[in-house]
C-alpha cells in the first residue's frame, strides 16, 4: 500500500503525542508498519508541537515531505495553518480545533492573534477540504478539556480515511488509556465523531 501520511499540529500540553501514539498503535494492530516523527521544543508547555505519522509503506525517515500529508489534525488554529500550509497535500483533509491558545506575544500585548478568516483563507489556497469545530468545547462537554485529543481522534476516525477500522481505534484506546478515564474518553470519541458531520 501507499504510505498514509498524517500531520498533527498543536501546542505543548494539548495531548497531541498521545493522539499520535494511539493512531500508531492502531496501525500495528492492523498489521501495518508505522513511523512517528515528533518535533517539540524544550518547554513542557506553550511551544509549537508537530507530529508526523506515516502508516504502511517502507519509508525510512520519520519526517513527511512538504506538501505530501493526506490529513492535517490541527489542535489549534494558528498551529494548524502553520503546518498545513507547509505539509498538507493539495486538497488534503484538514480537521481543525477552533479554540485558540494565545502565545505570550498575544497575552503580553506585543501583537494580536491573527484574524481567523485570514488564517483559514490562507490554508484555503492549499485545500478546500477544511473542517473546523470547537473540539476543546466538546471535550469540556465530555468532562475535561484534556480529552480534546480524543475528540480529534474521533473526528479523523469518522472521516473514514484511516487505513484501519473504527473498531481497531476503539480497542487501541481501551488498551492504551487508564481504566478510570475510559468512560470519559469514549464519550469524547463519540462526540468527536459527531463533530465531523456537524461542519
Amino acid at each position: 500500500m501507499d504510505t498514509f501520511k498524517i500531520v498533527v499540529a498543536g501546542v505543548g500540553g494539548q495531548g497531541t503525542l498521545l493522539a499520535s501514539r494511539l493512531l500508531a498503535e492502531a496501525a500495528i494492530k492492523a498489521g501495518l508498519h508505522v513511523k512517528i516523527g515528533e518535533t517539540y521544543g524544550m518547554a513542557q508547555r506553550g511551544g509549537p508541537v508537530m507530529g508526523h505519522i506515516q502508516i504502511g509503506g517502507e519509508t525510512n525517515n520519520p519526517q513527511i515531505r512538504k506538501g505530501e500529508a493526506d490529513v492535517l489534525i490541527g489542535f489549534e488554529p494558528a498551529e494548524a495553518v502553520r503546518r498545513g500550509v507547509t505539509y498538507l497535500k493539495k486538497d488534503g483533509l484538514a480537521l481543525i480545533n477552533t479554540r485558540k491558545t494565545a502565545p505570550v506575544e498575544v497575552v503580553s500585548g506585543m501583537m494580536p492573534y491573527p484574524d481567523m478568516n485570514k488564517l483559514f483563507a490562507l490554508l484555503g489556497k492549499v485545500t478546500k477540504n477544511i473542517h473546523t469545530f470547537d473540539a476543546t468545547g466538546i471535550a469540556e462537554e465530555a468532562g475535561d478539556p484534556i480529552t480534546t485529543n480524543i475528540v480529534m481522534l474521533g473526528s479523523i476516525t469518522e472521516s473514514g480515511l484511516l487505513p484501519y477500522s473504527e473498531e481497531t481505534v476503539v480497542n487501541t484506546m481501551k488498551e492504551g488509556l487508564k481504566p478510570q478515564f475510559i468512560e470519559m474518553n469514549m464519550k469524547a470519541f463519540e462526540l468527536g465523531k459527531k463533530a465531523y458531520h456537524s461542519l
Binding site: 508505522v34 512517528i36 516523527g37 502553520r82 502565545p103 503580553s108 500585548g109 475535561d144
Partner: protein
C-alpha cells in the same frame, strides 16, 4: 498497562520510541544496573528504565549528575555487571573526566554510554557532535539509523564492550531518539552473573603513571581490534554495482539518502553505503566502496566527521575522487539534514532538473500573518510568581532593575528571559549561574544567581561553597518547584523518593546552604507575592552570600495531582476591571486573555490552575475565585 519494553515475547512487534528501543536493547542485553541524568533528548531512556527496573530486577537511578552516573555505572562494570549510562550530548562534557580513565583502564562487564546529540539545537545550547568525544578517548561509536537498530545495536554494543574491554558509545540524534516505529522484540538475556571484583585483572587497580602510559598502547590495540570487527559487521550495508556516483549515509542520515533515492527513482544510478560505525572507521570496507567512484556525497550530522576521515583515506586509494559534503560547502556546516536538502544534492550530482519551489508565496504570506509562539512558563508556574516578586524587591532595594545582573541557569526557569518577565541576563551551563555571579560581583558588579532546585543539586554545590569560602557577596534565588520539570519530572535528592519509588530521607537545599556557611537562608512560598517580595528584600540587604529558596510545587504536577478534580475557578469581574492590562503586561500568565472590544481582561479556565497570583497583581481587586 505494563510497558512494552518489559515484555518477554520475542518476535512481537510493538511501537517504540528510539529512546525506548535503546532501553529495551539494554534490557535484552542483560543489564543489572543503569544510571543516568535526564536531559532532552535523552530523558525517555531513563524514564523507561525507571518504570520497569523493579519488575525486571535491575537497579536504576537518576544520579546527581552525568559524571556520578558514569562512575556508578563503571563501578558495577568492574564487578562484572552489564550496565548502561544514557545522557544528553552536553552531559558527556560533565562525564568526560571519568570517561577518560575508563578507556585507559578498561571495563569488565559491558558498559554502554549513550549520547543523544541534538543537531539544530531543538532543546540544547549547542549542537556539539559527540563523535569527537569518542575519537578523543578511543571509544568505539555506533550510530543506529532506526529504532529497530537502536535496540539491536545497544544489545550488540554491550557484548562488544565486554569483548574488547572498552566502553562503547551509542550515538543518536534527536530525530531518532524521538521517533517511534514498530520494533520486533528479541530475547531477554538473563546472565545471572555473580558480582565480583576482578582481583587478577589488575587493569583498574591503582598503578603509577608509567604503568598507565603503557595502557595507552593497549588502548590503541583494542581500538584496532574493534576496527577489524567493524569491517565484518552485517549492519554496515553496501549496494555497489559499479556506479560512478556514490553516497555514504552515516547513522540516521542514511534515512534521508535511502528515501531520496526511492523518491527520485534513481536507485540504479547510485552506489550507496549505510555506515553505522563512524569510529573506528572500517577503512578497508570504506576504501573498497570509494575505489571505483568519481563522485562521493557524505551525508552525516552534524560535523564532517566521517567525511574528514574519508578525505584522508582517499588520498591513497582514489586521489581524484570528488568528495561532496559539509567540508566543501555542498551541505551546510551547521544543522540537521532534510529531505529537501538531500533530494536536491542527489539531483545535482545526477544532473536532474531542480524541483520548483511550489508554495514559496503562501509560505511568505504565512510568515507575515503568524507569530512565532515564543516559549513561556506554564499557566500558574511558580517561577513566574517568584520573578514578579523578585523584580518588585530589586526595584525597591536597588532602585532600578538594571542595577543588578541576573545570571540564570538551565531549566524551565531559564525562560525568565522571555517577555513579559524579561528578568534574566545570562545562562550557560548546569550550575554556572553561581560561579559567574561570583566573578562579576568580586569585580564590583551586583549579581543575582537564579538557579533551579535540580540544577543546584547537579552542579551548584561546589560553586556555592567556593563563593562562601572566597568571601563573595552574591545573592542566590533557588527557584525550587520540587521537580526536574523541563525534562519530564524525574527525581532529585531533595524529593525524598528515588527514581524507582523508594522513600528515602530528602537532602534539603537549605541544609546544604547552611552547612556550606551561608548565613542568610530563607524559604518562601512564591504564591504569596508579598511574603516573597519581603524575603527577597531581606536577601538583597544581607551581607555576604545570601539565599532565598522560593519553593512551590510545579503547576503541572499540582494539576495532575488534582485530577479528576479541576482547579478552583478564577475569573475577572468585568465590572471592576479597569482595563489597565497590568496582569497581562507585567505578569503575563498564559491563562490570561484580553478582549479588545470590551477592553477587559478575562481568564481561560481550561488553562488556569488557581494559583491566585494574578489576583494579587491586579491593582483594583477585579480578579478572584468565582465560588
Amino acid at each position: 498497562m505494563s510497558h512494552p519494553v518489559a515484555l518477554d515475547r520475542p518476535g512481537e512487534r510493538v511501537v517504540l520510541m528510539g529512546n525506548e528501543a535503546i532501553a529495551r536493547g539494554a534490557i535484552e542485553g542483560g543489564i543489572t544496573l543503569a544510571a543516568s541524568y535526564p536531559g532532552t533528548p535523552s530523558s525517555e531512556i531513563g524514564n523507561t528504565l525507571a518504570r520497569v527496573a523493579k519488575k525486571l530486577g535491575f537497579h536504576f537511578e537518576w544520579s546527581a549528575n552525568e559524571k556520578v552516573a558514569l562512575e556508578v555505572a563503571y563501578g558495577a562494570s568492574m564487578v562484572n555487571q552489564r550496565v548502561i549510562c544514557p545522557m544528553k550530548h552536553v552531559g558527556v562534557n560533565v562525564a568526560l573526566d571519568i570517561l577518560n580513565p575508563i578507556t585507559l583502564r578498561g571495563v569488565k562487564g559491558g558498559l554502554v554510554v549513550v549520547s543523544t546529540d541534538d543537531p539544530s539545537q531543538h532543546s540544547s545550547r549547542t549542537e556539539q557532535d559527540n563523535r569527537w568525544m569518542g575519537k578523543l578517548n578511543d571509544v568505539p561509536i555506533i550510530e543506529p539509523s532506526s529504532p529497530q537498530e537502536a535496540k539491536d545495536l545497544t544489545k550488540y554494543a554491550l557484548g562488544l564492550s565486554e569483548h574488547v574491554k572498552l566502553p562503547v558509545l551509542i550515538r543518536t540524534v534527536t530525530r531518532l531518539s524521538h521517533m517511534r516505529s514498530d520494533v520486533e522484540l528479541g530475547e531477554i538475556e538473563d546472565l545471572g552473573r555473580k558480582p565480583e571484583f576482578d582481583w587478577e585483572g589488575f587493569s583498574y587497580r591503582v598503578a603509577g603513571f608509567e604503568k598507565l602510559f603503557r595502557r595507552h598502547k593497549e588502548r590503541h590495540e583494542k581500538i584496532d581490534a574493534v576496527e577489524a570487527e567493524f569491517e565484518k559487521v552485517p549492519f554496515n550495508l553496501v549496494k555497489n554495482n559499479g556506479e560512478k556516483k556514490g553516497i555514504i549515509g552515516v547513522g540516521f542520515s542514511f534515512t534521508y539518502v535511502k528515501d531520496a533515492l526511492e523518491a527520485l527513482d534513481v536507485e540504479d544510478k547510485v552506489a550507496w553505503m549505510k555506515l553505522l560505525t563512524p569510529h573506528p572507521l572500517p577503512q578497508k570496507k570504506v576504501g573498497e566502496f570509494i575505489k571505483g567512484l568519481d563522485t562521493l556525497l557524505v551525508a552525516e550530522e552534524v560535523d564532517p566527521y566521517v567525511e574528514l576521515h574519508i578525505k584522508a583515506l582517499a588520498k591513497d586509494i582514489n586521489p581524484d575522487l570528488k568528495i561532496l559534503g559539509r567540508l566543501d560547502g555542498t551541505l551546510p556546516r551547521e544543522g540537521e539534514l532534510s529531505h529537501e536538502l538531500i533530494d536536491e544534492k542527489i539531483s545535482d550530482i545526477l544532473g536532474l532538473p531542480k524541483k520548483p519551489q511550489e508554495r514559496a508565496e503562501i509560505e511568505a504570506e504565512k510568515d507575515e500573518l503568524l507569530f512565532d509562539r515564543m516559549l513561556t512558563m506554564c499557566a500558574g508556574c511558580p517561577h513566574r510568581s517568584s520573578l514578579y516578586a523578585l523584580k518588585q524587591a530589586v526595584k525597591a532595594v536597588k532602585g532600578d532593575l538594571m542595577n543588578v545582573v541576573v545570571n540564570g541557569d538551565i531549566g524551565c526557569y531559564g525562560l525568565a528571559h522571555a517577555p513579559p518577565m524579561a528578568f534574566e541576563d545570562t545562562y550557560f551551563a548546569m550550575g554556572a549561574s553561581i560561579g559567574v555571579s561570583q566573578g562579576m560581583q568580586q569585580m564590583g558588579v551586583d549579581t543575582i544567581a537564579w538557579i533551579g532546585d535540580g540544577t543546584f543539586l547537579h552542579a551548584g554545590i561546589p560553586a556555592l561553597q567556593n563563593a562562601v569560602h572566597n568571601g563573595a557577596n552574591i545573592k542566590i534565588v533557588v527557584a525550587d518547584n520540587a521537580a526536574v520539570a523541563m525534562t519530564g519530572f524525574q527525581t532529585n535528592p531533595q524529593m525524598g523518593v528515588t527514581a524507582t519509588g523508594d522513600k528515602v530521607d530528602p537532602i534539603m537545599i537549605e541544609d546544604i546552604a547552611k552547612a556550606s556557611g551561608v548565613k542568610h537562608v530563607e524559604v518562601v512560598d512564591p504564591y504569596d507575592l508579598d511574603a516573597a517580595e519581603a524575603a527577597f528584600k531581606r536577601m538583597l540587604e544581607a551581607e555576604g552570600v545570601a539565599m532565598v529558596i522560593s519553593r512551590r510545587e510545579c503547576a503541572m504536577v499540582a494539576v495532575r495531582k488534582m485530577r479528576p478534580e479541576r482547579p478552583p475557578v478564577y475569573a475577572v469581574d468585568p465590572e471592576k476591571c479597569i482595563g489597565c492590562k497590568q496582569c497581562l503586561n507585567n505578569y503575563g500568565c498564559p491563562a490570561l486573555m484580553w478582549n479588545e472590544d470590551e477592553r477587559k481582561a478575562s481568564i481561560d479556565t481550561t488553562l488556569c490552575m488557581g494559583c491566585d497570583s494574578c489576583a494579587q497583581v491586579c491593582p483594583v481587586g477585579a480578579i478572584g475565585r468565582r465560588d
